[in-house]
């Protein structure tokens, strides 16, 4: 395509059923792709700059952030380059190096890395382990107690991964919020796999901070973009401006997503607001799919049961047995699915893998089930 670097045309969503859990919630609707075409040039958000990104009126970034704030049930919201940048911004703003952070064992690696970068000592809330890997909210209390006993002070922050990236487990955030409130520990809710897919109200969940992933769950690809939403009492710390450049928030280095990704997030917002009202249908579809997969035999769904999210991990000894004898070893599954126009399960994975049913029709998912059945019947 290009005369320089040769780039392949990417037509994954047009030619295949894509099960990749990282990508399903970030698939961009037509109206937003149209916006992406016109705002593709550098600094396209800045034609009418008013000093910093979150106050820009044309395009209406400021109004959009007001709506997003209401949508998330918080007091203020700004754009970030992604969810991880939002998490780091909070940690950096409200903690001091050497202080303690408590986070769930199912956390995304970026939560851990952000805490490391902020110089924090990490205490992990253990999961229940195989096969459900649940995070029990009450374990936050015991981990806070342990951290307090060992470090001599309360944690500076508690982080909960609302829905985790490996098993799609949904944790009762309100219970964790109550515990944090009782201990007076600020509560950061990472909603990378929940907000934008399902309704979220941060205040109802007693969160001080909400972090969101635009490209993961808000139908906003076109680069990377996130949202950082806070309660008002944290504005002076988290949104603190530079002393020299009075309108530039320090924690996002003044302005964050200065282009297409911000505009796509905005353009997708009406679509996102509508789709979260169908979350129950998505859960029902995921449960149906999980049951159908297990009915194929020697396949077990891990994590919450019944499942409460479209991200599902399966343990698949039947496929691993095939891999032991197949000339392509673990790659057979990826290749057999590809032949059937199905992608998104990582190449080489046969012991267990995760996938997402989000936004796929029952007909498409039925075809995926039939394809697994066909592969197992042919090769086992």
């Amino acid at each position: 395509m290009s005369k320089g670097i040769r780039l392949e045309l990417r037509a994954r969503e047009e030619l295949f059923i894509n099960l990749e859990p990282l990508q399903r919630g970030g698939i961009v609707p037509a109206e937003s792709r149209k916006i992406a075409i016109s705002y593709i040039d550098g600094y396209s958000t800045c034609d009418y700059c008013l000093g910093t990104l979150h106050i820009v009126k044309k395009p209406p970034i400021c109004d959009f952030l007001t709506e997003v704030t209401d949508f998330l049930g918080m007091d203020r919201a700004i754009l970030t380059h992604g969810c991880r940048e939002a998490k780091f911004a909070i940690m950096h703003a409200i903690t001091e190096p050497g202080q303690v952070i408590v986070m769930d064992e199912n956390r995304h690696y970026t939560s851990y890395v952000a805490a490391e970068r902020a110089g924090l000592k990490i205490y992990e809330v253990p999961s229940t382990g195989y096969p459900e890997f649940k995070i029990r909210p009450e374990e936050y209390a015991s981990t806070i107690e342990k951290a307090k006993k060992e470090s001599g002070e309360l944690p500076a922050l508690a982080l909960l991964t609302h829905v985790d990236w490996t098993h799609g487990n949904l944790v009762d955030a309100e219970k964790v919020g109550k515990i944090c409130q009782e201990y007076n520990v600020p509560f950061l809710l990472n909603t990378a796999y929940s907000s934008g897919r399902m309704p979220i109200n941060g205040k109802r969940l007693l969160a001080d901070f909400i972090t969101c992933s635009g490209h993961k769950s808000w139908a906003a690809g076109a680069g990377v973009v996130g949202i950082l939403a806070i309660r008002d009492e944290w504005k002076d710390k988290v949104l603190k401006a530079s002393q020299r450049y009075k309108v530039k928030p320090i924690e996002i280095l003044g302005c964050s997503a200065r282009g297409t990704s911000a505009l796509v997030l905005m353009a997708s917002f009406p679509y996102v607001k509508e789709r979260v009202t169908h979350w129950d249908e998505e859960v029902e579809k995921a449960r149906w799919f999980s049951g159908q997969m297990e009915s194929l035999g020697e396949i077990r769904q891990l994590g919450d049961k019944p499942h409460n999210h479209d991200l599902i991990r399966f343990e698949t000894p039947i496929l691993d047995k095939i891999a032991q004898k197949h000339k392509r070893r673990g790659y057979f599954l990826y290749e057999e699915l590809l032949k059937r126009n199905i992608v998104g399960i990582k190449a080489g994975k046969t012991k267990s893998f995760d996938l997402s049913t989000y936004g796929l029709s029952k007909e498409q998912l039925g075809y995926v089930i039939d394809s697994f059945k066909d592969i197992i019947n042919k090769l086992s």
Binding site: E13, E14, A30, K34, I37, S38
Partner: protein, 59 residues
């Protein structure tokens, strides 16, 4: 002419994004329903008309 040809170019591109949406919704085999076929034909007609208008402007 200048504004019109640019607007029409975007109009054609945007219509093709609508067509692309049909391919996405019907992946991987694109077995279109009667309504989807009608929608695809309407999009194609719109694109052809728009391209003709652009061509008319640059003659």
């Amino acid at each position: 002419m200048t504004t019109k040809i640019v607007e029409k170019t975007f109009e054609a591109l945007f219509a093709l994004e609508d067509l692309r949406e049909i391919w996405r919704k019907t992946a991987p085999f694109h077995n279109l329903t009667k309504e989807q076929k009608e929608e695809a034909r309407a999009i194609l007609n719109n694109v052809r008309k728009t391209l003709d208008e652009i061509e008319g402007e640059i003659k």
